[in-house]
Amino acid sequence: MDAIILQILNGLDKGSAYALIALGLTLIFGTLGVVNFAHGALFMIGAFCAVTLQRILSLSTVTLSKTETNFLGQPAEIKTPYVESWFGPEAGAAIIDWSVPLAILFSIPVMIAIGFIMERGLIKHFYKRPHADQILVTFGLAIVLQEVIKYFYGANPIPTGAPEVFKGSFDFGVLLGFDPNAIIYPYWRLVYFGFSALIISAVFAFLQFTTFGMVVRAGMADRETVGLLGINIDKRFTIMFGLAAAVAGLAGVMYAPINSPNYHMGMDFLVLSFVVVVVGGMGSLPGAVLAGFMLGILESFASMNEIKSLIPGIDQIIIYVVAILILLTRPRGLMGRKGVMEE
């Protein structure tokens, strides 16, 4: 029993990342009808927002120490981050420590801006072109974004730590009455899960309970009619694109402490997120979230030793096997609507 709960928990953080990326993909697809292969790159840029903010905050003045010397006998260099000299040593250190959560604030405007530029500058011109062209041009864009990041940050993963308070692990089993140390779960993954649950509910609430969201939903159902009613639906869809970019970016920011950001993390997640979207049903937001968590948890179950010894290699392919089975038996995915992407 404790093993099962542990696997469910393990699946949650990956599942949250899949769900967030898939949610953004589905938002873009549902509103603009564009298949965005650059969405993984947006996730990656989000993670690098965290890296960037950490670097900005750690910018330091270098002074020479009067007492200490380095191994060559010269005065040692002491680095004092600007934030420490401005806000005092303790507050400054705390700000640097909390750079990943602070990067949330930093990344939202950055990602929305990137989303707007992408939509207005490139994707706008591809609404009328075939889906294959949309896939190809966004695939090219993904390569470009990836290489730009590689140029500025190098090819190696950059460790980006979570705040000190979240670094430990949490003995989850004790809460549920199991033995101590039966279910150990890192705090940051709990935070990640909570955060993604928050974002997902915020997106749904936004679409469900605001006038803006209502118009967008109407536009998703019938773009032309909404346009004929005198509503500038294109402008709202552009905003939705920015929002989807921000969701992917936030998923990336918070994922940085779990997996050190590197330039190709976006591509790795993209392939799986597409599988998630297709399993959930193209254009269905709840489907994307459901499939994201489901596949994340299935993946972690498949990596249990008991199951691996039963079917060797299943942990590597489970997601694809499920995707293939679902596509062949339920062509529209779990919760897909009729008439979406069916030529």
Partner: protein, 402 residues
């Protein structure tokens, strides 16, 4: 000639000329000149041109004609490579059985994947092929290690049986691949003045394979079968409404293109007998998509051009470094020189993929017909004014069937 229309025969002859004379054409600069690093006439690179040319021609038969965008074609190339290396390990170092087996195995594998994937079209098809290819890649890395040798890659060893050949040569080394005694790696170098032209057996084997592949592709493009595939691309629903089952046709196209990929994989293993799982990764599938689109999907010559273009610049561009640039721009004043080099720097050397990505985006945005369409537009510029039947005819023959 060979049952081809005059125009296609000319095209075939041009390709024959280009491939057979490639050691001369790709080697325009004298050996010790400063430009020698832009020579592409060395065996390794020429082989890659031709092999990826075959791969792209095959991919184009599926994507260019039927419009089904497969993101998993590298799986067939990888399977082909593995089967060829196994043939070298078990049977003999002759390349003919190895290549034959790789084509057959890739064909069977694509029959299996195609049968399942072609039940869906559009983006679903792309995702299905992607899923299958990633699955094969992951399996090759993990469970199938006895067959694929995992991360190390499948290599020849001294203990391989090689029933019809020898396990090791007299001096105790691994035998090399060959065609009835002709070693694939043997190269004849012809020195003409300052130039050194290299003629490699392996290259010419690949070149012959390319010519056969190209000829078959022309025949497929011009056949009723090819016409049927184009019809599938322009409106599959209408085809279905007329009571025609299109699946056998698309499946045949899929298997043919899978066999082309297997041929490319077999040749790759024949030139250098090792096979690794990274050949099956989806980025490798993405590369062949790039080649086909860049050259011009749906055209005959486009994929070959695209493959040559990408492989040439991948090798040559990545060799340009800051020193070379300083050499080029030394005529400028120092400040300006450094400024220009700072701007160009991200796009060369290791940044080649950035250039490729930008170029690819430009092509998709402005030139959906690829390099071929670019060439046609330039040609049209020159003979503007006399819009005769000839111009209209070329565009009809070579633009993608839409």
């Amino acid at each position: 000639m060979f049952g081809l229309a005059k125009k296609d025969a000319t095209l075939l002859l041009v390709v024959v000329g280009l491939t057979l004379l490639a050691p001369f054409i790709l080697n325009p600069f004298p050996t010790d000149s400063a430009m020698a690093q832009f020579n592409a006439g060395y065996p390794d690179l020429m082989q890659r041109f031709v092999i990826f040319g075959i791969f792209a021609i095959g991919f184009n038969i599926l994507f260019g004609l039927t419009g089904y965008l497969s993101f998993g074609h590298a799986a067939f190339l990888g399977v082909g490579s593995y089967s060829a290396v196994w043939m070298f390990k078990l049977l003999s170092m002759n390349v003919i059985p190895a290549i034959a087996l790789s084509v057959v195995v890739a064909g069977l594998f694509s029959l299996l994947i195609g049968y399942v994937s072609l039940r869906r079209s559009g983006i679903y098809f792309s995702i299905l092929t992607l899923a299958f290819a990633q699955m094969s890649f992951n399996l090759a890395y993990s469970v199938l290690t006895p067959i694929t040798n995992g991360e190390t890659g499948l290599q020849l060893t001294l203990n391989d049986p090689r029933v019809l050949g020898i396990s090791q040569t007299a001096d105790g080394s691994i035998p090399v691949t060959g065609l009835f005694g002709l070693e694939m790696r043997s190269t004849y170098t012809m020195d003409v003045g300052a130039w050194a032209f290299q003629f490699n057996v392996g290259y010419y084997l690949c070149a012959v394979a390319l010519l056969v592949a190209f000829y078959l592709a022309i025949r497929i493009f011009r056949s009723p079968f090819g016409l049927m595939l184009r019809a599938v691309k322009s409106n599959q629903q209408r085809m279905n409404y007329t009571g025609l089952n299109t699946r056998p046709y698309t499946l045949a196209a899929f298997v043919i293109s899978g066999m082309y990929a297997g041929l490319a994989g077999g040749l790759m293993a024949s030139m250098d007998p090792l096979a690794g799982a990274e050949r099956m990764q989806w980025t490798a599938s993405g590369e062949v998509v790039l080649m086909t689109i860049l050259g011009g999907a749906g055209t005959l010559i486009g994929p070959v051009l695209g493959a040559g273009f990408i492989k040439y610049f991948e090798n040559i561009f990545s060799k340009i470094n800051d020193n070379v640039l300083h050499g080029w721009f030394s005529f400028m004043p120092d400040g300006l020189e450094n400024f220009v080099i700072t701007i160009i720097h991200p796009f060369i050397g290791k940044g080649w993929h950035l250039t490729l990505g930008l170029l690819f985006m430009m092509v998709v945005i402005f030139l959906p017909g690829g390099l071929v369409e670019g060439g046609q537009r330039i040609a049209a510029l020159f003979k503007r004014g006399k819009k005769d039947d000839d111009g209209a005819d070329t565009s009809k023959a070579t633009t993608p069937a839409e």
